[in-house]
């Protein structure tokens, strides 16, 4: 048993590290460090830099412009990106719809959609959840009725992350009401500029309109935007959800945040003449988080080792989702703990690009509560942690 990288893998790691050091733009890095949300343009700019290098889509196969990397190389790349704070590709195109198009789309669809995703020319968003269909996704009601060579779509989708930026949306729609709920669902690609689509921003508890509700009113969608066969969408959707659950543990980002916690703790007064790093209660909390992170990292490495010998990602990936998200939330609590009163001000605009003036409190301390609030979503989205536990009970434990 060993957890070492091979010599080639180490060389690769150095190459990735050197590339990120020199090519991840300093302005973006400064913003990430300052806790400022990156704009659409900035995220796209970084993606295009990765594209120039040929590294835009680590998870794609060679033939579509992917990297052809081994699972370990992908892991190394994701780790180095996370450690430096470089934003991951927006998942909706690259990680969600693209694998579905590759597996089930027509050749015409592949040529039409994949290059633009790879080059970050087109921004995608997801149309899965509905106001009444969350964890029970298969109960979705948005309907698509064939009329000539077009579907007519009616209904609404919700929790569309960055729908305000999106050019296209992939949707699960109901095309047959007469069969079992999973069997009447189709997978449609819809141009966000289509007449009849309206967007309503949803402000989350941190004050940011990160998600939207999308309404479809008699939206006409060409039939050649249907992926695969009609009423087979649920099968395709499940593939997408498995992809959503890989790389979700967030270990690299966790390491980066752990280092930040240590740095901030050593700079934060405990109120009694020492620093928070000298406070034994806080140190114990920090240690628990670090230990959990180590356990998570090795759980991920074990999954990775299985992938490397050709095994498919199984329901074990639910462990990574549950533990990764709950650990991230524990870290949020520690940031709040350190920030103390500094995170009480509710001034979200301090973390916008165009904010002028001095922030309240030192560093990003005023963002700690906002991040704590926002990250409550982690255990809700991507298949809630309750759904993940159901998967483990059923698929792993056979209950």
């Amino acid at each position: 048993m060993n957890a070492d990288f091979t010599a080639e893998e180490q060389t690769f790691q150095e190459e990735v590290r050197a590339f990120l050091q020199s090519e991840f733009p300093a302005e973006l890095r400064a913003k990430v460090d300052a806790g400022i949300r990156l704009s659409k343009e900035e995220i796209v700019r970084w993606q295009k830099i990765l594209y120039q290098k040929g590294w835009a889509a680590p998870n794609w196969p060679d033939e579509f412009g992917g990297t052809g990397w081994s699972p370990t190389q992908k892991y190394i790349f994701a780790t180095e990106m996370g450690l430096i704070g470089a934003p991951e590709p927006v998942p909706f195109g690259m990680k969600m719809v693209a694998p579905v198009i590759m597996a089930y789309g027509s050749d015409e669809q592949k040529q039409r959609f994949l290059p633009d995703i790879l080059q970050s020319n087109v921004w995608w968003c997801q149309g899965y959840s509905e106001p009444n269909s969350g964890s029970d996704l298969a109960s979705l009601k948005t309907s698509a009725v064939l009329d000539g060579d077009e579907y007519v779509v009616n209904g609404s989708k919700t929790w569309n992350t960055y729908g305000q930026y999106a050019d296209w949306i992939f949707c699960l729609v109901r095309t047959d009401n007469s069969v079992k709920k999973q069997e009447g669902i189709s997978f449609l690609l819809i141009d966000m500029k289509s007449p009849g689509i309206t967007l309503k921003p949803i402000v989350l508890l941190d004050g940011h309109p990160e998600v939207n509700e999308v309404f479809f009113d008699e939206v006409r969608v060409p039939v050649n935007n249907l992926i695969g066969e009609e009423n087979k969408g649920w099968t395709y959707a499940k593939v997408l959800l498995t992809h959503e659950r890989t790389n979700i543990s967030g270990v690299p980002r966790g390491k980066r945040r752990l280092a930040a916690l240590k740095r901030i703790a050593s700079e934060t007064d405990d109120g009694f003449g020492g620093t928070m790093m000298e406070n034994s209660t806080f140190k114990n909390r920090l240690a628990s988080v670090e230990i959990e992170l180590q356990a998570l990292e090795y759980s991920e490495l074990r999954t990775l080792a299985a992938l490397s010998v050709g095994k498919a990602p199984g329901p074990e990936s639910s462990i990574l989702k549950i533990v990764g998200t709950e650990l991230a939330q524990k870290m949020d609590e520690l940031f709040v703990e350190l920030a103390g009163y500094n995170c009480l001000p509710y001034v979200p605009e301090q973390f916008e690009d165009d904010f002028e003036g001095d922030r309240i409190g030192p560093g990003n301390s005023a963002a700690a509560a906002l991040t704590y609030f926002n990250n409550r979503k982690l255990s809700i989205f991507g298949g809630s942690n309750e759904v993940q536990r159901n998967i483990i009970s059923k698929a792993v434990l056979g209950l």
């Binding site: 029970d136 007064d269 405990d270 703990e337 001000p345 609030f373 409550r376």
Partner: protein, 377 residues
């Protein structure tokens, strides 16, 4: 043994409930939060008329002479409604400090005005770097022949931007964390050298960072003896700590109730999610947390009312705040989780209750601080 409310306490509770029902629904409350002032002056005048502003003050000072139990009965209702009017800042904390330290003249000058609703107060004690330790005071008070000069920075000053007068805690002598040498001064908020940066907190309450630059006050602005304010300040903070703990009990109860209701109506997989045992047990745990939080807050209030032992009082308050803080995290996080996506939206009161209790957890010291304080006493 009797844990029931007295008739007076029942009346007080009903009077707050009636007000909330009539004039403080969620939308109205949000409009008040968004207003320039961040609280409703009309409500404040109503509080004065209803006599609420007299509750924490001694009868000798013209107040109602309310007990700690009276206080928590009110605060719990305030917590359910997420009230943003500066009740704690003006009456409990600042009023309490004046009540403890002020001489007859100072009390007569200030307390009646507060009870009439004519004067808002803020107690500026926390500083950048002091964390939750009220003895950590760097703001300086330099005494000269004809005046006292204040210099320093204060943070997280509740009601700092609406107060007519500030109670500034400053050091006349000693090192940064010495218990001796700390005084309290009454400073006009518009005095030259006072600059105030206002903001709204995550729980909807207004607060401010305040800088004092060569602010000159006369010797009669000092409350009590020179350098001897800390014990009284700690007493006032303990009462305020109990108040926010009781507020949290009310807010958590409300969160639990809303979560249970939602789980009965929200259907997934063809059935109400409240029928899932995995969720039932978690809501049962939320209930347990609420009950334990309530019990320890009642215990603390009863200790404040019954014992003469200062140490016992302080320990009881820290025990309450510590336990309430851990309940806050569990109840708050579970409420959001069980609501799912809808719990993440700012439109719902659930999100605001969650933010409210998160702030209450930090105010006047969080769980870790109070657990350590409890252990060290």
């Amino acid at each position: 043994m009797d844990f029931s409310h007295t008739e007076e306490q029942q009346m007080l509770q009903e009077s707050v409930q009636k007000f909330v029902q009539k004039s403080y629904d969620f939308d109205t409350r949000n409009k008040i939060v968004d207003s320039e002032q961040g609280y409703s002056e009309e409500n404040w005048q109503l509080f004065a008329e209803l006599g609420w502003l007299t509750v924490p003050f001694d009868e000798a000072d013209g107040g109602f002479g309310g007990s700690a139990v009276d206080l928590i009965v009110m605060m719990e209702e305030f917590g359910k409604a997420m009230l943003v009017e500066p009740y704690i800042a003006t009456t409990v904390l600042s009023g309490g400090l004046i009540g403890h330290l002020g001489d007859e003249q100072q009390k007569a000058d200030l307390i009646p005005q507060v009870m009439e609703g004519a004067l808002q107060l803020a107690c500026a004690y926390a500083e950048p770097g002091s964390r939750y330790n009220p003895a950590n005071v760097k703001t300086s008070a330099e005494v000269s022949a004809d005046s006292i000069i204040l210099n320093g920075s204060k943070t997280a000053v509740l009601n700092g931007s609406n107060a007519g007068k500030l109670l500034v805690i400053a050091r006349e002598s000693g090192a940064d964390t010495d218990r001796e040498g700390i005084s309290a001064f009454v400073v006009n908020a518009d005095a030259p050298g006072v600059s105030i940066r206002a903001y709204v907190n995550v729980d909807g309450r207004k607060a401010a960072d305040i800088t004092l630059e060569s602010v000159s006050v006369s010797a009669d602005a000092r409350l009590g003896e020179a350098g001897a304010a800390l014990v009284a300040l700690e007493h006032a903070i303990d009462r305020a700590t109990l108040s926010v703990s009781a507020e949290a009990v009310g807010a958590m109860e409300s969160l639990l109730q809303k979560t249970v209701e939602y789980s009965k109506t929200r259907k997934q997989f063809g059935t109400a999610i409240g029928t899932f045992q995995a969720l039932q047990h978690r809501m049962a745990d939320m209930f347990i947390e609420c009950q334990l939080a309530r019990s320890i807050v009642i215990r603390a209030a009863m200790k404040l009312d019954s014992t003469e032992d200062a140490l016992e009082k302080t320990k009881a308050v820290s025990a309450a705040k510590s336990r309430v803080g851990s309940a806050i995290r569990k109840v708050g996080q579970e409420a959001i989780q069980i609501h799912g996506g809808i719990g993440m939206t700012n439109e719902l009161d659930v999100a605001h209750l969650f933010k409210r209790i998160t702030a209450l957890d930090l105010m006047f010291g969080n769980t870790d601080y109070h657990t350590e304080r409890f252990a060290s006493l």
